[in-house]
């Protein structure tokens, strides 16, 4: 008669909360795991850009204009045949053709720039708080420079610039999505929960916003920003502009979930339990869609990153001296850089990798979002 035979038989199931089930099904998604690793790595870089970057991203050196990338070697062989583990790069010298004035970098035979892991380099203040000198990779000799990603037209280290650009580009996605999440949750929630005329009006507004051609709108809004704003003000203004368009997709997802949940029996049961509207939404409905929302947020971040990149590329987004991937790519706008300094496109590679990684992660999260779909019944 008693249906639960042995309470201990269930001991392993009772700890499996929704997040654990999600994690189990997420782990099976290999691409998503790769995506997650890359995303974590990128945000670590964004957080500790000063530590990862070998130099100050603004430090220019006229001698090293368009310096090509140097390959890093790890085994240092001496002339007598002995060797030791020590990273080094080949030193180059700038030569100018006497007649054509064309610049070429030629390797200096036997000249090596030896590098140190976790050595002390140029001092910096992390997050404006901690004065530090330790960097991941620095030249042994103070004052020497090396260029793993090459140098730009002012002789600035592209590696340091790209890593610093990660900070702005990855954070603008996050901040922009947070703003659109706020808008999307509120409007989508109202639309889905109340339905009827309210729903009709909000949906038509969303359709209107979606029908606006985004690039001209961004251009118009960005051009309207006062020229005397500081870089920081501009940064926030741009995120706001991006999220003004970006909230619509999220609002639709949220509305769909609300519509689906509203008719669920457990929501009816909660109404009959006497729950207030607020409790119904925040205690009963929102937790059920949290996983879906996280998934769609993850999928919205890459759109923001792309939008920022395109705006900055067109020169209407962020401006120097702020460094973002878009700002860096602006340097690669002309034919000369394609021909002479293809390494200026490296920030573009970062954009592609970041967007792909976030998309894979989002896909994996979306698949894992409903662990009960498979294991519930």
């Amino acid at each position: 008669m008693a249906t639960v035979v042995d309470p201990r038989a269930h001991a392993h199931t009772e700890v499996a909360s929704q997040w654990r089930l999600m994690w189990w099904s997420f782990r099976r998604h290999r691409l998503a795991m790769i995506g997650l690793t890359i995303v974590i790595l990128l945000y670590l870089i964004a957080l500790f850009a000063e530590f990862f970057a070998p130099f100050d991203p603004q430090a220019a050196r006229a001698r090293d204009v368009y310096h090509p990338p140097q390959r890093i070697h790890f085994v240092d062989t001496a002339e007598d045949g002995s060797w030791r583990l020590n990273p080094w790069v080949q030193d180059y010298k700038l030569e100018r053709d006497k007649f054509t004035l064309q610049q070429t970098y030629v390797p200096l035979e036997g000249e090596r720039i030896r590098l140190d892991f976790l050595g002390s380099g140029e001092p910096y203040t992390l997050w404006g708080l901690f004065a530090l000198e330790t960097r991941l990779l620095v030249p042994e000799e103070q004052g020497r420079r090396f260029y793993l990603f090459g140098a730009d037209r002012l002789g600035r280290d592209m590696l340091s610039r790209t890593l610093h650009g990660t900070r702005i580009s990855m954070s603008i996605g996050l901040v922009g999505v947070l703003v659109s999440l706020l808008l999307g949750l509120t409007l989508g929630g109202i639309s889905g929960y109340y339905g009827g005329t309210v729903d009709m009006v909000i949906q038509r507004i969303i359709e209107f916003v979606l029908s606006l051609p985004t690039i001209p709108i961004w251009l118009g809004l960005a051009a309207a920003l006062p020229a005397d704003w500081t870089a920081l003000q501009r940064y926030f203004a741009i995120t706001l502009i991006l999220s003004l368009i970006g909230w619509t997709e999220l609002a639709r997802v949220v509305r769909g979930r609300f519509l689906a949940l509203r008719t669920e029996d457990f929501v009816t049961a909660a109404t009959l339990d006497g729950c207030s509207e607020k409790r119904l939404i925040f205690r009963h409905m929102l937790p059920s869609m949290a996983s879906h929302i996280i998934a769609s947020v993850t999928l919205a971040i890459p759109l923001m990153i792309l939008a920022e990149t395109s705006l900055s590329f067109l020169g209407l987004g962020l401006q120097q001296p702020i460094i973002s991937w878009g700002v860096l790519l602006k340097e690669a706008q002309n034919i000369r850089s394609i021909a002479q300094a293809p390494w200026l496109f490296i920030p573009g590679v970062f954009v592609v990798v970041a967007v792909l990684a976030l998309n894979f992660l989002g896909d994996g999260l979306r698949d894992a979002a409903d662990p009960y779909a498979q294991s519930g019944r």
């Binding site: 269930h10 457990f266 339990d273 059920s288």
Partner: protein, 581 residues
């Protein structure tokens, strides 16, 4: 019904079939060493409760097991030369050896072995006409011309008794009713004159009257085509109605196998006996209930529904300007007395769920009054209450839902689910709440220690107990139970009904019990109200109505209910209810 042709030699033999699903914890054997035989012109019923592996067995035969499951062992021998159409075809094929994607097995699917499924809506394509879908399977296997295929399709539709087949052939799935869809599915299965028909719970999603018609149809087609039928079901009444042989399955294993009369009259295995007893118990009133009523007869009316009406507005056309309406409940009178169980029975679409939801004002009634006598003795009209008053009343009238999976929030622990009404009402919190939830769990037969778990750790029956615990948490007067047992296995149904009776005695409850299952109502309810198209056609004492129904619709409904005794099959004269215009 013993005059069916019996050939000694089986058409299909399944030997030691094993199908496994890889799980995180290791392989799970959904089917474990099952063997049986199918004979031409005879019906084999595979019976078992949910999770017994009966559907997986059927799907293994055609190698359409859902990923990542796979056949591990066993033989499935199709003796084509013994089938009527396979004369001349050489030999015996072992279906288990064929690659699931090979053309060899594709040729067998549909042509030699056809299958029909439980959900006629999801097994038919919504974007093709019925004729296209049936015609496709004819043309895939027979390579006939388009015109021939169409003629044959019309012929098939006529065979499965779809009215006006010439025009029905060009209609879409959504224009068909549930029963018509299942008929179309059968027509599709018959398209190539298969020698074996596998029916996986084909009537479970249908009303009893439709179910009776479909069963009739399958039986008639079997006789005219000489097919071997493998019929999978959990309903012992259906088994008694159509089976020649029975295979009882449990936990993927074959429990018992034998002739229908032998199984029903002399079941050998304890599990089979339990299954049959559970069904038979539901065919008569609960003794417990009769004893309770003898000790304490029902009192005055607590709920008095008068002229209730619920109209749904369906908007259509551009911008929803054209309005059409659907009367789900119209002019309905009903009375529930204190301490009484009132059964509301009807087919799907009869408005019984709407009625239950109108009582609790989950749906707003469009007209009429619902007079309710509160615990403090004052009479209120439920349809006229404001929000605050309604919240108070909803503590006295509670609801138990049909689907034990959907009605419990998967993100909340059992303690949170059951404690929610107490917490929201501000009655208890903290340690007192936990103690009360523990008491409630013990009352519904679950250990108090299980309150920390999430609902997905429980079986369907246990979840329904949790739902009941939530309903009684506020010490209610009336419980509206909307099909509380229809999602449960037969063996658990009686347990849940007994639990409800037990609680009724201890807590002085009255039940409005909505169900489509006459057996369950007969067991549990003192009075019965038969609903048809939004109105009540007949009310009365359950036994009186069941023994001598007054209204023609009630008669047709009762005559369609399959009786769990193979000796009486076909004795009852079935008649269809046709409404007088």
């Amino acid at each position: 019904m013993t005059g069916r042709p019996t050939t000694g030699e089986p058409v299909l033999e399944v030997r030691n079939l094993v199908t496994e699903f890889p799980l995180r914890t290791g392989p799970f054997r959904a089917v474990d060493g099952v063997s049986f035989e199918l004979h031409a012109g005879r019906t084999l019923c595979v019976v078992g409760e949910s999770g017994s592996g009966k559907s997986v067995t059927a799907r293994s035969i055609l190698q359409i097991v859902d990923q990542p499951g796979r056949l591990v062992e066993g033989e499935i021998l199709l003796h084509r030369h013994r089938t009527a159409k396979g004369a001349g075809a050489d030999d015996t094929v072992d279906l288990a050896r064929l690659n699931p994607r090979s053309s060899a097995i594709r040729a067998i699917r549909g042509r030699d072995v056809a299958m029909i499924f439980q959900e006629p809506m999801s097994s038919l394509s919504p974007v093709h006409t019925i004729g296209d879908q049936i015609g496709e399977s004819i043309r895939l296997h027979g390579a006939t011309s388009r015109r021939d295929a169409r003629r044959r399709t019309i012929d098939l539709l006529r065979q499965v008794e779809i009215p006006d087949p010439e025009s029905a052939i060009d209609r879409y799935t959504f224009e068909y009713s549930g029963g018509m869809r299942q008929r179309a599915m059968i027509a599709m299965a018959l398209a190539c004159n298969p020698s074996i028909l596998i029916a996986d719970e084909p009537t479970t999603a249908l009303d009893v009257t439709t179910q009776a018609e479909i069963l009739d149809l399958i039986r008639r087609l079997q006789q005219s085509h000489g097919m071997a039928v493998m019929f999978i079901t959990h309903d012992m009444g259906v088994v008694a109605e159509i089976a020649d042989e029975i295979v009882v399955m449990r936990h993927g294993k074959l429990v018992e196998r034998g002739d229908v009369f032998a199984i029903f009259e002399r079941p050998e295995h304890a599990y089979t006996r339990m299954l049959i007893d559970a069904v038979k118990a539901l065919d008569r009133p609960s003794r417990r209930r009769l004893a309770m009523r003898a000790a304490k007869p029902p009192g005055a009316a607590v709920l008095d529904i008068d002229g209730l009406e619920k109209v749904f507005h369906l908007s259509s056309g551009w911008f929803g300007r054209k309005r059409s309406t659907l009367k789900a409940v119209s002019d309905l009178d009903l009375r529930l007395r204190a301490g009484e169980n009132l059964g509301v029975v009807g087919e799907s679409g009869s408005g019984k769920t709407t009625l239950g939801r109108c009582i609790l004002r989950v749906l707003e009634p469009s007209g009429g009054t619902i007079r309710y006598e509160t615990r403090s003795g004052e009479a209120v009209d439920l349809t006229a209450l404001d929000r605050a008053a309604l919240t108070r009343i909803r503590r006295e009238i509670r609801m138990v839902f049909q689907d034990p999976f959907a009605s419990l929030n998967p993100r909340m622990t059992v303690q949170q689910v059951i404690g929610e009404p107490l917490l929201v009402a501000g009655l208890l919190s903290g340690r007192d709440l936990a103690r009360r939830v523990g008491e409630l769990l013990e009352m519904v037969g679950l250990p108090a220690a299980s309150m920390e778990r999430y609902p997905h750790a429980f079986s369907g029956g246990q979840r329904q107990r949790i739902g009941i615990a939530r309903a009684i948490a506020l010490d209610p007067k009336v419980i509206v139970a909307d099909e509380p047992t229809s999602a449960l296995d037969v063996s658990i149904r009686t347990q849940v009904l007994d639990l409800l009776l037990d609680l009724q005695e201890r807590l002085d409850l009255s039940f409005v019990f909505i169900s489509h299952d006459i057996g369950v109502i007969r067991y549990f309810c003192d009075r019965i109200a038969v609903m048809y198209k939004g109105g009540i056609v007949e009310t009365g004492e359950t036994e009186t109505v069941c023994a001598a129904p007054d209204h023609a619709y009630t008669r047709s409904l009762l005559s369609a209910v399959p009786h769990p005794d193979p000796r009486v099959r076909g004795e009852k004269k079935r008649h269809r209810y046709v409404e007088q215009a």
